[in-house]
Amino acid sequence: MKTLSEIRELYHSVLLPELEVLEGQRKLALNNIIIVASIVFPLALLLAYFIKDFWPMLVGFFIVAGAVAFISKDYVRNFKTGIIEKIVHAVDEKLNYSQAAFIPRSLFSASEIFRHKIDRYRGDDHVQGMLGRTKVEFSEVHAEYETRDSKGRTQHHTIFRGLFFVADFNKHFKGTTIVLPDTAERLFGGLGAMFQSWNKTRGALVKLEDPEFEKLFVVYGEDQIEARYILSTSLMKRISDFRKKTNKNIFLSFKGSKIFIAIPYYRGLFEPRIFRTIIDFAPIEQYFEDLQLATGIVDDLNLNIRIWSKQ
């Protein structure tokens, strides 16, 4: 695990020359985007004025958004091989990075964290490898479902968007245990706990004795003893600490001897800037922090401890 100062060193010695080349590509892409926008928007505005309707503006907006993605495709790809991959390897050289791959939909569904039917599933920036004795993989994932309104238009709604992390858990177990952010109990106190115990679709409610953990999370499990075997007193503390460190709602599940963690993000992860200069350490620091949050889970939750029969 590298420190921030080592990443700063990497930035100055290795990344900076690359970034200067990429900055040229970015400016070129940005120029093309500006050209497209300055043709499309006035046309759309004109059309909207003549037919006295709003939709040409919307169409114009989608055309420009598509153009941004299309024009910057090569730049984004070069940026990820040139920069992101190097940062991944700097964090740990045994990690493999693949910019187009992502956690497979089957694995995402198998975690049972989100049970809404998925209609569209995408992702990128897949990282995998061994961290100590623990096999991990994670990527950015975006799962959505579709609805149709009265006019037959399809709309997409996000089920989950953010970082999805899967690791080999250090204990054997058979059933499923789900740990979700506890919104009911935070809002309604004891009454919330009562509502949760009525929610039978998730398996039985597991009431745990760590008050801090109980305030943050609600646990459902198939087996009361197994849920406590997985969520030992020390792991509960570690999960609470991790929750406080990230300051995000985190979702966990334990199934098939694996641990799944979903951390929602409202911004893209590991994406290069287009509209601002990239000759800057701040975004590099952000990529590094996002990566370290994921790889740090192994230490944060002590997954490398192998004192049980599972090696």
Binding site: K171, H172, V206, K207, L208, E209, Q224, I225, E226, R228, Y229, S232, I305, R306, I307, W308, S309, K310, Q311
Partner: protein, 185 residues
């Protein structure tokens, strides 16, 4: 008249529901207690293996090994009351902890594959026992709350249900946890 009947039926149904939830809670406690017992037995089953693996190495702990074998035989004989069981179990836990600490003095043993596997299994069972005890305590708390809180307490007093005791972590158990910590690598 109809109104009175409706109210009476509602009261009867409500009482049934209370009764059933109480019985459910009591059975849950018994159920989990049986699991604790099964896990304790699982640990006892590991002891003969452990003793036979370590005895060729551990010269100075011969006495302890003989004693733990005897205690184990007593524990599985099945003639004990539950209080005696708990007492005996505490004693065995403490001795196992002692053996695991003494292993530190035998580098050959620490490298023995067979022993390492046993140690893993033993740690696993310890952790499962502790999980089962926590589950038992949760079930007992649930049950105790029910027999003391309105309105289930009325039905509970009619059934003569009494409060149950939770497991308390004994000194020996706390030591066990520390022993587990020693072997993290």
């Amino acid at each position: 008249m109809v109104g009175v009947i409706v109210i009476l039926v509602a009261i009867v149904l409500f009482t049934f529901a209370l009764y059933n939830s109480l019985v459910g809670k009591k059975n849950q406690v018994e159920n989990v207690f049986a699991s604790v017992d099964a896990l304790l037995k699982k640990r006892y089953d590991l002891i003969p293996n452990l003793v036979s693996t370590v005895k060729t190495y551990m010269e100075h702990e011969k006495g302890t090994l003989t004693e733990i074998t005897e205690l184990r035989a007593k524990a599985v004989s099945g003639t004990l009351t539950s209080d005696e069981k708990v007492q005996l179990d505490n004693k065995i836990s403490k001795m196992l902890g002692g053996i695991m600490v003494a292993v530190e003095n035998y580098p050959d043993l620490k490298a023995n594959q067979n022993f390492l596997q046993l140690q893993g299994s033993l740690n696993e069972v310890e952790e499962q026992i502790s999980a089962a005890r926590r589950a038992y305590n949760a079930a007992v708390t649930d049950y105790n709350n029910a027999i003391e809180m309105v309105p289930t307490n009325i039905v509970a007093s009619m059934l003569n249900y009494k409060r149950k005791q939770v497991f308390e972590a004994s000194e020996a158990e706390r030591q066990n946890i520390n022993v587990g910590q020693l072997f993290k690598n």
